[in-house]
């Protein structure tokens, strides 16, 4: 139902998420933001069961900010990803597991850009590109075919647009618009929303 995608470049990470907040068969909101800003250079994209997404993402968000307040410096993306995964794993075998699928994207001064794929079973993988949702079945092959590690920013946006057009063509659900953000050494930049007209 929901769709997340991330593409890592040589010095940036491009992420996009759809804007639909649905309840059963009804689109309740058309402009819902699924990205949570963990710190100046880390974004968490969260989809999954209705209440779990916001609760878990805000929990992680506040803890990352608390770390900064206590220690004076921010968590690196890899540390934040591992922290998130640890929380997912701890709750997995409790009575209230969080059913959320996540993409964590960030830029570190020493390690460079990083994209981390996590799912509700508390798995963690650092990947050059990743996608969540039913739309991933349709778009991962496009990413496999056209991705290169040295994509420029425009080429990455073009690749993202290809994926979104494929979704528009073949995916049974209507996902009309997507939030797009880019993270590089200067922080998080909002890019132009991708809005498609239904064919």
């Amino acid at each position: 139902m929901e769709y997340l995608i991330g593409i890592q470049g040589p010095d940036y990470v491009l992420v996009a998420a759809d804007n639909v907040a649905a309840s059963s068969i009804i689109q309740m909101k058309h402009d819902y933001d699924k990205m949570f800003k963990l710190s100046e250079k880390i974004l968490l994209l969260c989809v999954g069961e209705a209440g779990d997404t916001v609760q878990f993402a805000e929990y992680i968000q506040k803890n990352v900010q608390l770390y900064k307040m206590r220690n004076g410096y921010e968590l690196s993306p890899s540390a934040a990803a591992n922290f998130t995964r640890k929380n997912l794993a701890d709750y997995l075998r409790s009575r209230t597991p969080y059913h959320v699928n996540l993409l964590l994207a960030g830029h570190d001064e020493s390690d460079g850009p990083g994209l981390f794929y996590m799912d509700y079973m508390a798995s963690l993988a650092k990947a050059p590109f990743a996608a969540h949702g039913y739309g991933a079945f349709l778009t991962l092959s496009i990413l496999d075919r056209y991705y290169r590690p040295d994509l420029s920013r425009d080429e990455a946006v073009e690749l993202l647009r290809k994926c979104v057009e494929e979704l528009n063509k073949r995916f049974i659900l209507n996902l009309p618009s997507f939030n797009v953000r880019l993270i590089d050494k200067d922080g998080i930049h909002d890019m132009e929303k991708i809005t498609l007209i239904a064919k």
Binding site: S23, I25, I26, M28, V54, T96
Partner: protein, 255 residues
């Protein structure tokens, strides 16, 4: 409320999950009507209790409630039928409750749960106001309700807060959404059909009221679990109960 504390409300069982069934863990994500593992287990019935009515998709809550924003404030509307399976338990239920001078709550789902949580919310908002000497903001009230409901995932409550200059949807499964038009309940698709076509920001108060009434009426016409009268609230600076249309279903609205 003292009784609830005496009965130790927090000792109510937390929601059960289906993790005991190993099939769920290893199943690939095929498209299904309910792609995510449903938490709805019957806590108060025997373990093999089965819902008597099979629905094609999980749209529950036999009601139609809606709220929308326009230039003249906020309109909240709901039907007044309380259904229990196939029985009309009560034809004149108040699904919209004023909980503060500027806040109104529309409820759908289990009637008892909604009444309880409305009272708890009223208590908490009033306590906050007394302790901190200022009003709790609307988004904070919604977040408070959402956080209070979080341990109770599995109860059939669905509360759509319609208040002040904001319409916020809070659900017992944890969803919290702010929007311009929200409709909740089994009659909500029909209501959306009418609202989406006729709603604009610049409606006058009378037009907005008649649109809301029309939307609920159409929903009650098509949905078996909604019916009887229409309750309407209009919120400007304060709550005003505007109109209560009588016997909507037998009236032909040709406004």
């Amino acid at each position: 409320m003292a009784l609830s504390d005496y009965c130790l409300l927090e000792r109510l069982k937390k929601s059960q999950t289906n993790w005991g069934d190993p099939q769920h863990i290893y199943m690939p994500p095929f498209p299904q009507a309910t792609p995510f593992i449903s938490r709805r287990t019957s806590r108060f019935g025997p373990p093999n209790h089965v819902l008597t009515v099979q629905r094609p998709f999980p749209l529950s809550h036999g009601t139609t409630t809606l709220g929308f924003i326009f230039q003249g404030g906020v309109i909240a509307a709901a039907d007044t039928r309380a259904s229990a399976g196939g029985l009309v338990a009560c034809p004149a239920v108040h699904k919209i409750t004023p909980i503060h001078s500027h806040l109104v709550v529309t409820s759908s789902g289990s009637g008892a749960d909604c009444m309880l949580w409305e009272r708890i919310l009223i208590r908490e908002i009033r306590l906050y106001e007394l302790r901190h000497k200022r009003r709790l903001s609307i988004r904070a009230s919604a977040k408070l309700l959402s956080c209070m409901l979080h341990p109770f995932k599995g109860t059939d409550v669905c509360v759509a807060l319609t208040l002040g200059p904001r319409v916020i949807y809070v659900c017992s499964d944890g969803a919290r959404l702010q929007g311009d038009i929200i409709s909740v309940g089994s009659g909500s698709p029909y209501a959306y059909g009418v609202l989406d076509g006729g709603l604009s920001w610049s409606l006058s108060k009378e037009e907005a009221i008649s649109l809301a009434r029309e939307a609920v009426f159409r929903a009650t016409h098509r949905d078996a679990y909604s019916g009887n009268n229409v309750d309407l609230f209009h919120i400007d600076a304060k709550v005003q109960q505007v109109k209560q249309c009588k016997y909507v279903c037998s009236q032909r609205l040709r406004d």
